[in-house]
Symmetry: none
Subunit: 124 residues, 2 copies
DNA sequence: ACCTATTTGTCCGTATGTATG
DNA sequence: CCATACATACGGACAAATAGG
């Protein structure tokens, strides 16, 4: 579970963590059913408090992307959400992220267009 | 952190404080990553209100010299990075996810537009 | 059934910057 | 420039749920 924090960014730590994991899910690196690291372990790995990681997990749980259970840990939701619904959750999260990052919606669209053109060049 | 104030100067207090700290950074006395004193402590040390020190910190933050974080304090910025990398990762992932879900890129754009219009209706 | 370990859930207090007057 | 209320982050402590010895 790769989570990178930007200490210079004004974005809150727990939102940075949530965004990073959301990206991991969006990229397919963490597929439905995948087990996320315990809050304590991830917190130590990235140098934050356990509650800060837990708070990030709660954000993703409220978005429907992650399931939390005592004694079991955090997992990426599976059958609770259809794949199209999951995509919508991810896109909504990205839009929120863009807004917080100060990006206009149009700028986000431009970013997507540029990525799309790069991928079509690369072949994929 | 040595900060000297001149009460007779017409320059505002918070600008005097900012200039002093800027000099500390410029001289290398406070290197990137260095932790600046909490506003409360510095304020007591030099005999001004806590918010006056914070205003000075804000000036330096706007200049890109200082990073401020709630609950953690003020530090000298390490690297001025374009931190849209994480957002880009999310968008790339959303595009891949859309492909898996059988959506065309255009359909994904439409989805984003519909979400955007819903949010603008909802009133944020 | 018991105990231990793990992990999330929740609360307290403390420290810090943020936002609104 | 100051006062007040608020949100984030940390640290500690303990409860609750789960799994395994």
């Amino acid at each position: 579970m790769k989570v990178e924090l930007n200490s210079d960014s004004p974005e809150e730590l727990y939102l940075q963590i949530a965004s990073s994991i959301r990206g991991t899910i969006a990229s397919g690196d963490a597929q439905p059913g995948a087990v996320l690291p315990p809050a304590k372990a991830l917190a130590q790995a990235i140098g934050v408090n356990r509650l800060t990681v837990l708070r990030a997990y709660h954000v993703l749980r409220d978005e429907g992307l992650v399931s939390l259970r005592r004694g079991l840990g955090a997992t990426v939701t599976t059958d609770r959400v259809t794949s199209s619904a999951r995509l919508r959750l991810i896109v909504e999260g990205a839009l929120r992220e863009a807004k917080r990052a100060g990006l206009d919606d149009e700028q986000l669209f431009d970013l997507m267009r540029s990525i799309r053109s790069e991928e079509s060049k690369g072949g994929e």
